[in-house]
């Protein structure tokens, strides 16, 4: 006989322990949001580069902006206003809107223009060339181009700054109206490059907020609208969606669970106490994450509600199997062998997640296994001691007897499983669509129309493709630039031949030191230049002393040290170059972005001819190879998990015949889930496979409990009651996930919900051997 004091003591100690755990968890756990945690880990060098590029590459930090909803002049003003406001914001490296930006080259770096511009490759600053240039300038002054030239003329009569600006603007710029870029639909276009990495939702979120604030602070923003697109924007979107979905699923699951338990047991104390093992499990899981990883991914915690769907079973079994005249402790001891088997099999199923090697899934495995074990143990040892002595016998639930009789009378033809097997195999063979989902992009939760809009803006702005990269390899940064220069002519040839629209090589921004020195050597001395200049401008109406700043600049340029990537990095365009030159352990990599690739084979042939110094990286192919390689590993892990489950069953039941009664429905149900998914055209991804194992782990319990020979009909009814409550709550949790807009959650939710349903039906049909009569 337990005393009230003993009950209260246990309860209070338990609650205190939970509170301590909660505090520890909150203090030590950091939430991470890098979406790459849910991608298979990279193996080959290409795959590693792929993962780096997705997060940090040249294209990943670009935000595409479009302003619409006002007359053209206003839009142009807004474009200029926004660009100006963002120039001062440290969160943005660069903002381009087509307006000629003389500040593209730092004031201090201006004399370097003679080393950076390709003019000196083909001309010398002699009297003939200067004469021709100055004549052009005179004519330009009389032409519409005068307004552009007047500020530059004295310092830069050969217009090197303009040549550089043209070289550095996107290879295929959009149409220009009123001095800024406009799309074919009449929107003002801008490109903004953020300082934060593309896959960092916090940094991207801050940048996008700053952008929108700056836009709305503009004086004539009025009715105009700002559209933002790009990888960073999608990251922020996905993050917000995930969080709101997780909250929603969590809230609805919890409410549904509470209602269900109230209906099943009609006892509020029972409900509250039944929640304790689950809450303990949850907190233990979080503590395990904090200990093992130090941080948890937001999506992992959202998935964590799968724990609820699994761990609820233990207290429910205990509650349903109590019978009059029996202590809760005795009931639980009777149940414990099967419960222990159930815990073990669920843990094995989750080990499959762990074997996948995917960071986020490993976290989920640790969280869930820790949670399951703690929930199970607290159901065995703590819950019985605190349950109220009075309870309703589940066997007496109205309608349950009728349900049991109905299920007993359901025909169980021996040929049914074989028929199902044959039909399944036929459907699987003829199923539409590919079997495997290899495209990582199919896992993205971004709505289709936003992706289309992004593609359209990308096309208009001439922003680089996110699919292809040309990778150059060399011992150091300067060697990369030299290699880049040597490959430029062939690539230009490919562009002219139409194999691709444009290529942006690192050497486009910064020539190698050798090239800079060669150009420097061609610069004339001050005296010689002065004479050439005087000669050239003899018949021209320029003022005598007009070009003194030009003479100064050339003289300065003659003694400059060639510009290195490190120094160039400090200029406004430095970040662009920095993202194209990457240091690796065994050398440096140059990354050249490609736009509008039409003939990948021609490119591949070109790279083959460089003897390995240049490589074409197809990010899509690399990601698919990643998925395929990983699938092999997962399939092996799953196979092992299923074998282990079978072994567990045999060991627990100690009889081949009984084991068969349990394993047969389990296998058939797994097959049926596959059949239903394939028949609806779903291609299987990593997550479907993992979810199948989880469903098998859960379904095993139903078969185990139905298979168990029971003493009397009341016990059979209790078994049915417990199983029904478990099934309904599992369907609730996983069914909600199946409705999620996140493909990963949807895959897992649908598979497990279907699995639970099929396992339940087939267990009833195949595991029970007929019941004792009442």
């Amino acid at each position: 006989m337990r005393t009230r004091r003993a009950v209260l003591t246990v309860l209070i100690v338990w609650l205190l322990a939970l509170a301590v755990l909660a505090l520890l968890a909150i203090q030590h756990l950091r939430i991470s949001t890098d979406l790459r945690s849910f991608m298979p880990p990279p193996q080959t060098a290409d795959q590693k580069l792929l993962m780096d590029q997705i997060g940090e590459g040249p294209g990943s930090r670009l935000l595409l902006l479009a302003i619409a909803g006002a007359p053209e002049t206003t839009l142009a003003e807004l474009s200029r206003g926004l660009a100006n406001a963002l120039h001062k914001d440290a969160r943005f490296e660069q903002v381009v809107n087509g307006a000629f930006d003389a500040s593209a080259l730092d004031e201090q770096l201006l004399p370097y223009r003679y080393l950076l511009s390709p003019t000196l490759d083909t001309h010398t600053l002699d009297a003939a060339y200067l004469g021709e240039q100055l004549q052009q300038r005179v004519e330009d002054l009389a032409s519409p181009a005068a307004a552009l030239l007047k500020p530059l003329l004295a310092r830069d009569p050969t217009l090197e700054v303009l040549a550089l600006a043209e070289r550095w603007s996107p290879p295929k710029p959009p149409a220009m109206r009123d001095g800024v870029w406009f799309s074919s639909a009449g929107e003002a276009l801008l490109l903004a490059e953020t300082r934060g990495a593309g896959f960092d939702p916090a940094a991207q979120g801050a940048a996008i907020d700053a952008l929108e604030a700056a836009f709305h602070a503009l004086p004539n923003a009025g009715t105009a609208t700002l559209t933002v697109s790009g990888p960073g924007y999608f990251t922020v979107l996905i993050n917000a969606k995930t969080r709101s979905e997780a909250d929603r699923i969590g809230a609805v699951s919890t409410i549904g669970f509470i209602v269900l338990l109230l209906l099943a047991y009609r006892s509020v104390p029972a409900l509250l106490l039944a929640g304790l093992p689950v809450v303990s499990g949850g907190l233990a899981g979080i503590a395990a994450l904090a200990l093992a990883f130090g941080s948890a991914h937001g999506i992992t915690l959202a998935f964590g509600f799968t724990l609820l769907g699994v761990a609820q079973e233990y207290p429910i079994r205990l509650l349903s199997h109590r019978r009059a005249g029996e202590d809760a402790l005795t009931s639980v001891r009777a149940l414990w062998p099967l419960l222990a088997t159930a815990i073990a099999s669920a843990a094995i199923a989750y080990l499959a997640f762990f074997a996948s090697g995917v960071g986020g899934l490993q976290q989920l495995a640790v969280f869930t296994i820790a949670g399951l074990v703690v929930a199970g143990l607290s159901t065995r040892y703590l819950l019985p001691r605190v349950l109220p002595a009075r309870f309703r016998d589940a066997a007496a639930t109205p309608g349950l007897a009728a349900a049991t009789r109905f299920l007993d009378r359901v025909p169980r033809p021996r040929w049914l499983p074989w028929l199902l097997l044959v039909v399944s195999l036929v459907v699987l063979w003829r199923a539409p669509g590919p079997l495997w989902e290899n495209d990582l992009a199919a896992l993205t939760p971004v709505p289709q129309d936003l992706l289309l809009r992004d593609a359209k803006l990308r096309g208009e702005l001439g922003a680089p493709d996110v699919r292809y990269l040309l990778v150059l390899q060399a011992p150091d940064a300067d060697a990369v630039l030299a290699l880049s220069e040597s490959l430029a002519p062939q690539l230009d040839g490919l562009v002219k031949a139409g194999a691709l629209d444009a290529v942006e090589l690192p050497s486009r921004y910064l020539p190698s030191a050798a090239t800079q020195r060669a150009r420097q050597a061609k610069l004339p001395g001050r005296a010689a230049l002065a004479i050439a200049l005087a000669d050239a401008s003899r018949d021209l109406p320029f003022r005598a002393d007009l070009f003194a700043p030009f003479l100064d600049d050339v003289e300065r340029a003659r003694s400059l040290t060639p510009l290195s990537a490190a120094v160039f990095a400090r200029s406004p365009l430095g970040a662009r170059l920095a993202s194209m030159l990457v240091q690796r352990d065994d050398g440096w990599l140059g990354l050249a972005t490609l736009s509008g690739v039409r003939d990948a084979d021609a490119l591949a042939a070109f790279t083959a001819s460089t003897q390995g110094r240049a490589r074409l990286l197809d990010l899509k192919a690399a990601s698919e190879s990643l998925v395929v390689a990983y699938r092999e590993r997962i399939l092996r892990a799953l196979g092992l998990a299923l074998v282990l489950l079978a072994v567990t069953v045999v060991v627990a039941l100690r009889s081949w015949r009984r084991a068969l009664h349990v394993l047969a429905p389990m296998s058939l149900a797994t097959l049926l889930v596959l059949v239903v998914e394939r028949a609806s055209g779903i291609s299987l991804s990593l997550f479907h496979l993992v979810a199948l194992t989880l469903a098998a782990g859960l379904g095993l319990h139903y078969a185990l409990f139905f298979e168990r020979p029971v003493a009397d009909a009341a016990e059979a009814r209790r078994t049915l009651h417990a199983t029904l409550v478990c099934v309904i709550s599992a369907l609730l949790v996983f069914g909600l996930q199946a409705l999620s807009s996140l493909p990963v959650l949807r895959a897992i939710g649908l598979t497990v919900a279907l699995g639970v349903g099929f396992h339940f039906c087939l267990s009833i049909l195949m595991a029970r051997e007929g019941s004792a009569k009442d």
């Binding site: 005179v138 009389a142 307004a147 007047k150 003329l153 220009m176 009123d178």
Partner: protein, 162 residues
């Protein structure tokens, strides 16, 4: 910037609203064709360079004023410019100040001098202090010195003796 004015000779062709052709014969050969909103400049043997009029508001402003003037479209003139007139039918002067602020940033005023039905002198005062003068019709053949003074040009335009 220059120590003497640039003087060009050529032919201006007005083929309707928004369509202007300017051919420079002396001292170099250049052909500028303006249609609607883009201008194309071709010099000597070089390939033509095209750019949108939005990048050259002075040209656009001039074109609009010129078109409206020749078409006798007082309404458009009134809409785009602030007008003030002086003189008589024999010698009149029209001053156009652009209303569009984008244009006003580049051009302070355009002065048109003419006699009877014909405009003969267009003076574009640019915001940065430069002055562009277009002498057409009977004034086109006037012999100018290499450095005509502003007073001389003014007198020429007004049709009075210097």
């Amino acid at each position: 910037m220059l120590d003497r004015p640039l003087i060009l000779h050529g032919e201006l062709e007005y083929s309707g609203p928004g369509k202007l052709g300017k051919r420079v014969d002396m001292p170099y050969k250049e052909q500028t064709t303006i249609t609607d909103s883009s201008a194309s400049v071709q010099r000597g043997d070089r390939p033509p360079r095209t750019f949108s009029l939005a990048q050259a508001p002075e040209l656009e402003g001039f074109l609009r004023g010129f078109s409206a003037l020749l078409a006798g479209d007082a309404a458009t003139l009134q809409r785009d410019f602030d007008l003030s007139a002086s003189g008589s039918a024999a010698h009149w002067q029209l001053q156009l100040k652009p209303r569009d602020e984008r244009l006003a940033r580049r051009i302070t005023a355009i002065e048109v001098d003419g006699a009877q039905n014909t405009p003969r002198c267009f003076r574009t005062h640019e915001a940065d202090g430069d002055l562009g003068i277009l002498l057409v019709d009977t004034l086109a053949d006037t012999k100018l010195t290499t450095r005509p003074s502003p007073a001389q040009l003014d007198a020429l335009c007004r049709g009075v003796a210097p």
